[in-house]
């Protein structure tokens, strides 16, 4: 075992002793957890320990989960407002790409793990959590079903003015899911650079193109 590791262990043992004398209270478990994290993880290939540094939103959402309580409303609103500002619409104003490409991206769960390399094309991981095209029976249920996503929302022509709000919302949700739900479990695909603009357009088409199998 390496030295850092032993040091942290020693500090934990000390904390435990202190815990005994104070009847278990007064131990800063958050601090201990941070120390343990620092001592326990190591860089591996393309994934560096710096990836564990949380931004404020993630720290707040994680703490709320530990406490088993939702964020207070003001904090949630602040997170959503800040997230909304991060959203960047496509430079050329075109929101939809090719749904066939979108399906391929939705199917793939590759990219950004330590067994991928920097050249791996990132997948969207979409089917891991969502039902999308009904032909794919192997889909997850962590997120809601997206089957008939556009159809159920009345999108018959994604370029029409009537569809604008729904198209922009969907883009925003993919770019930074926290803009609409402070502690959304969905990756912030655009914001964190998981998907590029072109990939997001393809996924948009999968969800909103009336010709996409999703809307049949």
């Amino acid at each position: 075992m390496n030295k850092t590791y032993m040091t942290v262990w020693a500090s934990m043992a000390l904390a435990a002793v202190a815990g005994c004398s104070t009847g278990g209270s007064g131990v800063d478990y958050d601090k201990l957890a941070a120390d343990v994290t620092k001592a326990s993880f190591q860089d591996k290939n393309i994934v560096k320990v710096s990836a564990l540094t949380q931004d404020e939103n993630m720290a707040a959402c994680s703490a709320a989960n530990v406490a088993g309580k939702p964020l207070d409303e003001a904090q949630a609103k602040a997170i959503e407002a800040a997230a909304l500002k991060t959203i960047r619409f496509p430079a050329d104003g075109k929101f939809l790409g090719d749904w066939k490409e979108g399906e391929k991206i939705a199917q793939s769960g590759r990219g950004m793990t330590w067994s991928d390399d920097a050249k791996t094309v990132n997948g969207g991981n979409c089917y891991n959590c969502h039902q999308i095209d009904k032909k794919e029976i192997s889909y997850g249920t962590i997120g809601p079903s997206l089957y008939n996503y556009g159809k159920l929302r009345g999108v018959t022509d994604p370029n029409a003015e009537a569809a604008k709000a729904m198209v922009e919302y969907t883009w925003g949700k993919l770019w930074n899911s926290q803009a609409y739900n402070a502690c959304s479990m969905m990756p912030r695909a655009g914001h964190k650079g998981v998907m590029n603009e072109q990939q997001l357009k393809h996924i948009m088409a999968l969800l909103l193109d009336p010709k996409s199998p999703v809307n049949q």
Binding site: A16, G19, G24, V36
Partner: protein, 266 residues
């Protein structure tokens, strides 16, 4: 009003067909697992583990038969469902695997650091997987009773809980992203809710397990390592406090659940 009614009807129809397809697929997977239940290749590893426990090995040419897994030297049956726990000799909370390495070091003279560095499925890590499979199997059907008496055990639980919910990495995932709610699945795989007792033989009560997707025997350390890989986190060091703390958190939550180890997994 009328449109809204139509939309809700469509929504309901979609939900119904979706649920039916899901049921058929889930039933199909359940049937598949049932067909595989007889003849779990993990039995091959149990045989090997038993032999390795009794065999004189290492620089000291000794067996592991005097190893204390928490219930006294040489007591194997029942030890698995009471781990991780605090050990006074090492002054550490240890899981089955790190405890076994302590025994391999003290009784057999192996180099613990070297074993920790060895990749999964290779060399003494392979030995460890076979030992853990056999030891786990001797507590089959017994109920988890992971202790929370020593202050260090309680501390580890609290730290483990925080690690479980810590979101990070490129995808903002935490352990809870997949294992924090009831009745969810990734693709077709059911996901146990590990924030509470997920039931007999699921989650913590199912590892070590033989994985059919790669025909490998995976220990809990290996399972955690690969969860973190898919979580897009950096690598947890083998046997590190983070892995032990998470095991304590999951183990204590699973108290009362019966072990089915060694299990058969996708």
């Amino acid at each position: 009003m009328k449109t809204r009614l139509v939309i809700s009807a469509v929504l309901m129809a979609a939900a119904t067909t979706g649920a039916q397809a899901q049921d058929a697929a889930a039933a199909g997977i359940a049937k598949f697992r049932e067909m595989l239940a007889d003849g779990n290749p993990a039995e091959l590893f149990e045989m090997k583990g038993e032999e390795l426990w009794k065999q004189k090995r290492g620089p000291k040419n000794a067996s592991l038969e005097q190893c204390d897994l928490g219930l006294g030297p040489g007591v194997v049956q029942g030890a698995f469902v009471q781990l991780p726990r605090y050990f006074a000799d090492t002054k550490r909370v240890q899981d089955l695997e790190t405890r076994l390495v302590t025994c391999m070091e003290t009784l057999q003279g192996f180099n613990a650091e070297e074993i920790a560095r060895t990749p999964f499925l290779k060399g003494e890590k392979e030995t460890l997987a076979a030992l853990a499979t056999w030891i786990g199997g001797l507590s089959k059907d017994m109920r988890f009773a992971v202790p929370q008496k020593h202050e260090a055990e309680k501390t580890m639980y609290e730290v483990g809980k925080r690690l479980f919910f810590a979101r990070g990495g490129s995808h903002d995932f935490s352990c809870a992203s997949c294992h924090g709610a009831d009745n969810t699945r990734i693709r077709l795989q059911d996901l146990p809710n590990l924030t509470k007792n997920p039931g007999d033989g699921v989650g913590f009560a199912a590892w070590p397990a033989y994985r059919i997707s790669n025909s490998q025997m995976w220990t809990m350390q290996h399972r955690l390592n690969d969860c973190y890989r898919q979580q897009r986190f950096p690598e947890p060091k083998w046997g590190s406090d983070a892995t032990i703390a998470l095991s304590v958190y999951m183990g204590v939550n699973a108290n009362g659940a019966a072990s089915i180890v060694p299990a058969l997994k996708r």
